[in-house]
Amino acid sequence: MSNVIEVSGLKKSYASRRGPINAVDGLDLSVSSGVVHGFLGANGSGKTTAIRSLVGQIREYSGDIRILGEQMPHGLPKVIDRFGALVEAPSFFPNFSGRRNLELLAKSRGFSKASVVSALETVGLTDRADHRFGTYSLGMKQRLGVAAVLLKDPELLILDEPANGLDPPGIIAMRTLFRRLASEGRTVFVSSHMLAEVELSCDRVTMVAKGRMVQSGSLDELRSLGESSIEVSVPGGIQEHESAAEVLRQAGFGVVHEIEGLKVATTSDRAHELTKLLADRDIYVSVLRPVIQNLEELFIGLTSEEAVSQ
């Protein structure tokens, strides 16, 4: 898989009375084609600034950005029809209808009116297309923003918090749309602070904190990072579990008693050692499973003040 987005050492700072603020501080990022790639970070972590630099809204930064192989921002005109972007809140003329807003954008690039109709249908806005944009709810505005992105029939979609303001059916529809687009071979790069949503819709994730990448990989790879213990149960009651705990402690494992059994501080690649140790003492394991942090716990751990400052 080739990379459709490549960022290295991206830095962007803003002047303030208290000195420069590093909104993005040496961000590295690679996004492969044909996947839904989540860009996860807390508010103020630099996601939007990074995305605005990617799409050319910010032109003065240091570092290297390549989109679809073209260096930004100079190569932007060459690839502008191949990617679509939605940055922050969708911005259109409030007194024009949704359809008119899209038609004007389509006309400026010579796209047909059919592309407008198709984009509106895809996001389910056909019924309200002729109403003024200013009367739209936040969710409808968001959907119109996505429709504008789809006008270009892009191979890469860059979306900044697209689920903002959407109701649950809207979020599900958006998630389904992303999966469908990825299955068609397109790449969806989507920033979010909604961990559950990223977990449900993305193949790969890059986590950012304080303008820096703190971790990147597939969801499975990230989950394996969060694996910190193994749950062990043996047949019998408290006595049997206490015996098993003693055996493991003697072998140097940290063991904690829990309601369901024992929690052993180790990773799954040492699971066979545990079973052998216990079996050698005629204690047979009935349950053995890795305890994996969910993405939320992992994210909080990785983006904590101490973790980022290390």
Binding site: R52, V55, G56, Q57, I58, R59, E60, P73, L76, P77, I80, G84, A85, V87, E88, A89, P90, S91, F92, F93, P94, N95, F96, R100, N101, L104, L105, K107, S108, R109, G110, G145, A148, K152
Partner: protein, 254 residues
């Protein structure tokens, strides 16, 4: 071309353009009705009018031209200010990232729309006034056309300057107040100095647009070299537009 057509459509669909057009043509319609009504009740022998009674060209446009210049400033600045306000520019730049092209196309669309509106408006004003006399045409029409073009040209420069300032201020009010600040500084302060007055760019432009016979705001007759004034005005406009384009090509657009 697609971009220019889209810009023209965008601009002519906007309230900032529609409302002044409706107001101006509404006033014209009322004026026309009043003229017709008065003509029905007041009989006038056309032969009693002599060429000396043909309305003075200055009187034809004088009530309007200052307001047209003001309108130019408001339309010029709000045409871009509203786009910054709605943040629609950021969306547009995701479709056409060549910023210089975008800004200059917007400027071209503004001048085309504004000039077209002006030409129609001034033509109607002139036709209404000249048709009141027995001898239409004659030597008056060339002067009407010359003066009309003068007003259209200069007020378009005002619109462009206001448009350019808005690229910096990003707000309509900011550009309008900046221009009025310069205007008031020149009129109320700098123009008091005899040797400075003829050299003030805004005064020159105002003199042309507001007083087509070359009478300045103090009611004194001044010689205005039209060609020189247009050249100066065009240079000023080019400087403002150039600076705006440079800034716009670098700036962070939200």
């Amino acid at each position: 071309m697609n971009l220019l057509l889209a810009e023209l459509r965008r601009l002519t669909s906007r309230r900032i353009f529609k409302i002044p057009v409706m107001v101006f043509f509404g006033l014209l319609t009322i004026g026309l009705i009043l003229t017709v009504v008065s003509a029905l009740f007041v009989e006038k022998d056309p032969r009693s009018l002599h060429r000396s009674e043909v309305p003075d060209i200055d009187l034809i446009f004088a009530p309007f031209n200052f307001w047209l210049a003001l309108l130019a400033v408001v339309i010029g600045s709000s045409s871009l200010g509203a786009e910054f306000g709605a943040a629609s520019l950021s969306t547009q730049l995701l479709f056409e990232p060549r910023r210089i092209r975008v800004l200059l196309t917007k400027a071209a669309a503004l001048v085309l729309c504004y000039a077209a509106f002006m030409v129609v408006f001034l033509s109607i004003i002139a036709a209404l006034n000249i048709s009141e006399v027995d001898e239409p045409g004659g030597t008056s029409w060339p002067r009407v056309i010359a003066d009309g073009s003068q007003i259209v040209g200069v007020s378009s420069l005002f619109a462009l300057i206001a448009f350019s300032i808005t690229a910096f201020t990003r707000k309509t009010a900011g550009a309008v107040f900046a221009l009025f600040g310069v205007f008031l500084t020149e009129v109320l302060f700098l123009a008091r100095f005899e040797w400075v007055r003829p050299r003030l760019p805004i005064m020159r432009l105002i003199s042309i647009v507001a007083f087509s016979s070359g009478t300045d705001t103090f009611g004194e007759s001044v010689q205005v070299d039209l060609v020189a004034a247009f050249v100066v005005g065009t240079i000023w406009t080019a400087v403002f537009l150039g600076a705006a384009t440079w800034y716009f090509s670098k700036a962070e657009i939200r």
